[in-house]
């Protein structure tokens, strides 16, 4: 063990900062509620994340505060919000990486539920239904007693690489087109199309995929601003996937 590691473990006591959170408050279920910014003060603690900070505010200062956390480990994609104006997963954002004034707001584009909570689930289900984000099997019945169909190990890894998306909505919130077009499938949708296009188990052809994303609500709506790529918490290669898909789709109809 290095000395450095020993130091981290014992941890010297330092004076904690006082943080001020400026949070967008609005409860659409309450006719008297108006959108407003509300401020809360909180003493920073060692290893404090926005999850820990917001939980403390709700439990000790304001029990009406709404937000969405589930795994609190950066795995489930529930808690994306605008952190100082930029979409990101709140649960794995450490306060020590931010200044003493922290502004939090709900993601744009999605239906607002209340305060920092938005309905990404409804949006994602709509996208999945529209793009049919499942393998369209070549055969209806699978004999479950028989060995599985073989797959190239590298191809399996490539598919998983794109399958890592957690549908957090950050890419949609960071997208110029999505702000203007309600029907835009976003980088999340295009990444899924790229994923199923890669999958030999899916019987759909390039023409079928063209039907799904070959217009302005799909690949041709993208303005190449690539905010999606910059904010993706899973660092998915969104830029490459969108460019790839667009080239493919152009060649189909040219």
């Amino acid at each position: 063990m290095s000395d450095d590691q020993k130091n981290t473990a014992s941890g010297g006591q330092t004076r904690q900062r006082m943080l001020t959170f400026h949070i967008l408050r609005y409860n659409p279920q309450d006719p008297d509620s108006k959108p407003r910014m509300q401020s809360y003060q909180l003493e920073e603690a060692e290893g404090m994340t926005l999850f820990l900070a917001l939980s403390e505010i709700r439990e000790h200062q304001d029990p009406t505060l709404q937000y969405d956390f589930v795994c609190r480990a950066g795995i489930c994609g529930s808690c994306s919000m605008l952190i100082n104006g930029r979409p990101g997963l709140a649960c794995r954002t450490l306060t020590k990486e931010l200044g003493t004034d922290i502004t939090l707001a709900p993601l744009p584009v999605f239906e607002h539920i209340g305060d920092l909570s938005v309905n990404t689930g409804k949006w994602m289900r709509g996208m999945s239904e529209r793009l049919e984000t499942w393998v369209h099997a070549k055969e209806e019945e699978v004999n479950l007693s028989k060995a599985e169909t073989r797959m190239d190990p590298e191809l399996a890894d490539k598919i998983y690489e794109l399958d890592r998306c957690v549908e957090c909505g950050s890419c949609v919130a960071a997208c110029g087109t999505a702000q203007m077009r309600n029907d835009f499938v976003g980088a999340v949708g295009m990444n899924k199309v790229a994923r199923f296009k890669l999958d030999p188990r899916d019987a759909r052809t390039d023409d079928d995929f063209y039907e799904l994303v070959g217009d302005d609500s799909g690949v041709f709506g993208c303005m190449s601003l690539l905010g999606c790529h910059d904010v993706c918490p899973k660092e998915l290669p969104l830029q490459t996937q969108i460019a790839f898909l667009r080239r493919k789709m152009v060649t189909i109809k040219s």
Partner: protein
């Protein structure tokens, strides 16, 4: 009152719930799934390591079969598992892997040829067979004789959940997101559905169904330090308990995972140790071989967790401002392996600890991880006490895991139980006598009762704070009902929880905000959770032996003579402050694997009087049949017939490289 009708109401949108729903829907029944969150955010997503199924594709899995998986599971459970259920499970697990493969799950696959792995801290070269090329790969996990854990890099649960969830969308299954079942509708004999609160508007609705299935996962949030997601509060367990008719099995069986990060308890997957990671103490010494020479870091989770705590008690922990911890060392696996196969671990270490696990050790300590206890069901997944109520997955006790679950058997259970119970639910709904004459009056009565309870919380001017009570409950559970338990601490814990329960009847709210009202949510959930905590603590107090994850310092031996039985908790009287306990006794003479030493952990246990007799019977039968040239299936069938308990479509054998199927 808004009433919604369906054939099957599934409560919980994780892997178990979705798979049950798909099964019932494919048989032609209408299904609605309720989910607290969008289903793809369920806690199933957090299962990083993998799913056990005896495919025997990799070279280190050669020779694996249902038989070996069965024995590992029963030993892991410390003989608390229902052996029929364990047999049904191991036979179906390979089918579940293959079904998911057909649905598009990107399982990691075998590449033939040489590869380097770490085994017992040594770098070893193993050679995968050409015949295995492109088949689903397996890795090593704790408490298993063979490499059996199928995986998708380090995101197995995530990939499984997305595949199952997208499959459910493909089947047109309706999911009502942000909807919470807060009471079951029943008449004391039959379950008819649930009272459901909308977590956006706060509105109450009644759902009426032929079959109601609970798949709400675990109750890790009864403890302060847990790997579980914040939604794992056991509310599905609680609404079953609150019927006063259905009961919970083995609630005292709580698993602590050896490697939660300090202080927040986020999970470091067992894959870290499965792939060769080590546990070290304050001196950097690898201590597990001192305690467990056979399995070392890869003994079962209950054993490793206890050994870690024991080692800390000996003064070998690392002191930190968050208390003491030990180190998980994965540096020996090399950067390439960590960045490829343990990427989630790397991300978590970077985000929450600010360290690079390829270079530094990870501070870990055991954290609450898995709820073996659950809604007691028979092998079909149905409650033996309340007709029409089913349960599957972590929320159920059907009972695969007994007193300790093996790593890799939980996500496996979700989809396997989903496949099996989904079929039985469909069978149930097919029967004309199970068609419900929608009991609207009863639904009205239940909705009004729940409305009244919420009104009392909102307007009753109670003096207690829900958040505070919840924290106190977690502290009591952590202090008195943790890894090491004893009569005195448990008694004190039970008494404190009883006081807390009484106080929870006097919760008041500071906010009456319309809509979901998070404080109101905390209030009604805390009332339910304290009852659940009491089933755990009281069950643990009464069980005067040590078995699996339940360890009593004052009764350190497993006692098969007195305790080879399952605890059942009922809550018949709403005003009681304790559950009523009953016990279900096991029949050793019907076991395929009678109780013995697990192969790791303590060797001293008190035998059941029938064990020797049954053991002799088995040995004789095995010798005779093997002498007659009977194969392993015939011998197994003679020992403990299980196949006809499975739904017909799942009874088939499983193909392997070394066990090809004819035709």
């Amino acid at each position: 009152m808004k009433v919604i009708f369906t054939d099957v109401l599934v409560i919980g949108g994780g892997l178990a719930g979705l798979r049950m729903g798909i099964g019932a829907k494919r048989r032609g029944h209408e299904v609605i799934v309720l989910s607290l969150v969008p289903p793809k955010r369920s806690h199933s997503a957090a299962a990083q390591g993998g799913m056990q199924a005896s495919l025997a594709n990799v070279i280190k899995g050669q020779g694996d079969s249902e038989d070996v998986h069965f024995e590992d599971t029963v030993r892991g459970s410390d003989w608390g598992a229902d052996q029929d259920v364990a047999r049904m499970f191991v036979n179906t697990a390979p089918k579940a892997v293959r079904e998911l493969a057909a649905w598009g799950l990107p399982w990691s696959r075998v590449a033939p040829g040489d590869r380097e792995v770490i085994i017992n801290s040594q770098r070893v070269t193993i050679t995968e067979r050409e015949e295995a090329r492109g088949l689903v790969a397996q890795r090593d996990f704790g408490g298993t004789k063979k490499w059996r854990t199928c995986y998708v890099s380090d995101g197995t649960g995530h990939a499984m959940l997305y595949t199952a969830s997208d499959r459910a969308i493909a089947e047109g299954i309706e999911v009502h997101e942000r909807a919470e079942a807060i009471a079951l509708i029943h008449d004391g004999k039959r379950c008819y559905g649930a009272v459901v609160r909308d977590l956006i508007t706060g509105e109450l609705r009644a759902y009426l169904a032929k079959a109601t299935a609970i798949a709400t996962g675990g109750a890790g949030r009864l403890y302060s330090i847990t790997t579980n997601a914040v939604i794992c509060e056991g509310i599905g367990h609680a609404i079953a308990l609150e019927t006063g008719v259905a009961c919970l099995g083995n609630m005292e069986a709580v698993q602590f995972h050896p490697t939660g990060i300090v202080p927040v308890g986020i999970l470091m997957t067992e894959g870290c140790r499965g792939d060769g990671g080590l546990l070290r103490d304050v001196d950097g010494h690898r201590f597990m071989p001192d305690y467990e020479p056979e399995k070392k870091e890869l003994a079962s989770r209950d054993v490793v967790s206890r050994r870690m705590e024991e080692h800390i008690r000996k003064g070998k922990g690392v002191k930190s401002r968050f208390g003491e911890h030990l180190w998980l060392d994965v540096t020996l696996l090399g950067r390439k392996h960590i960045e490829h196969n343990l990427r989630e671990i790397k991300e978590i270490c970077e985000s929450f600890l600010g360290i690079d696990p390829a270079e530094k050790w990870i501070p870990v300590r055991p954290a609450q991880h898995y709820t073996m206890g659950g809604v007691r069901t028979n092998h079909t997944g149905e409650s033996p006490h309340l007709k029409g109520l089913f349960a599957a997955g972590e929320a159920a006790c059907w009972d695969l895991h007994g007193f300790n679950r093996l790593g890799g058997n939980s996500v496996a259970e979700t989809v396997v139980a989903g496949m099996i119970v989904g079929e039985f639910i469909a069978d149930f709904c097919d029967k004309p006598e199970n068609t419900v004459d929608a009991p609207i009056g009863l639904a009205q009565e239940f909705v009004e009762r729940e409305e009244a309870k919420l009104k009392t919380l909102l307007n009753g001017n109670g003096a207690e704070n829900a958040f505070k009570l919840n924290t106190e409950m977690q502290d009591i559970m952590t202090r008195s009902v943790g890894i090491f338990r004893n009569g005195e601490a448990l008694k004190e814990g039970v008494e404190n929880l009883q006081k807390l329960l009484e106080r929870s009847r006097n919760i008041g709210l500071t906010s009456k905000a319309p809509g979901v009202n998070p404080e109101l949510v905390a209030a009604y959930r805390t009332q339910k959770m304290i009852k659940l905590a009491l089933t755990v603590a009281y069950g643990a107090l009464q069980r005067t032996e040590s078995r699996g994850a339940h360890f009593r310092e004052d009764y350190p031996n497993r006692d098969d003579q007195n305790w080879l039985k399952r605890t059942l908790s009922f809550w018949r009287d709403e005003n009681a402050t304790l559950p009523e306990l009953q016990y279900e006794t096991f029949d050793v003479m019907k076991m395929e694997l009678p109780p013995g030493w697990r192969g790791y952990g303590a060797k001293d246990y008190i035998d059941h009087p029938d064990t020797a007799k049954r053991q002799a019977e088995i040995e004789e039968l095995r010798k005779r049949m093997e002498g007659e040239g009977k194969d392993r299936f015939a011998v197994q069938e003679a020992l403990m017939s299980f196949r006809d308990k499975l739904p017909e479509n799942l009874r088939g054998l499983n193909e392997r490289i070394d066990e090809p199927l004819n035709g």
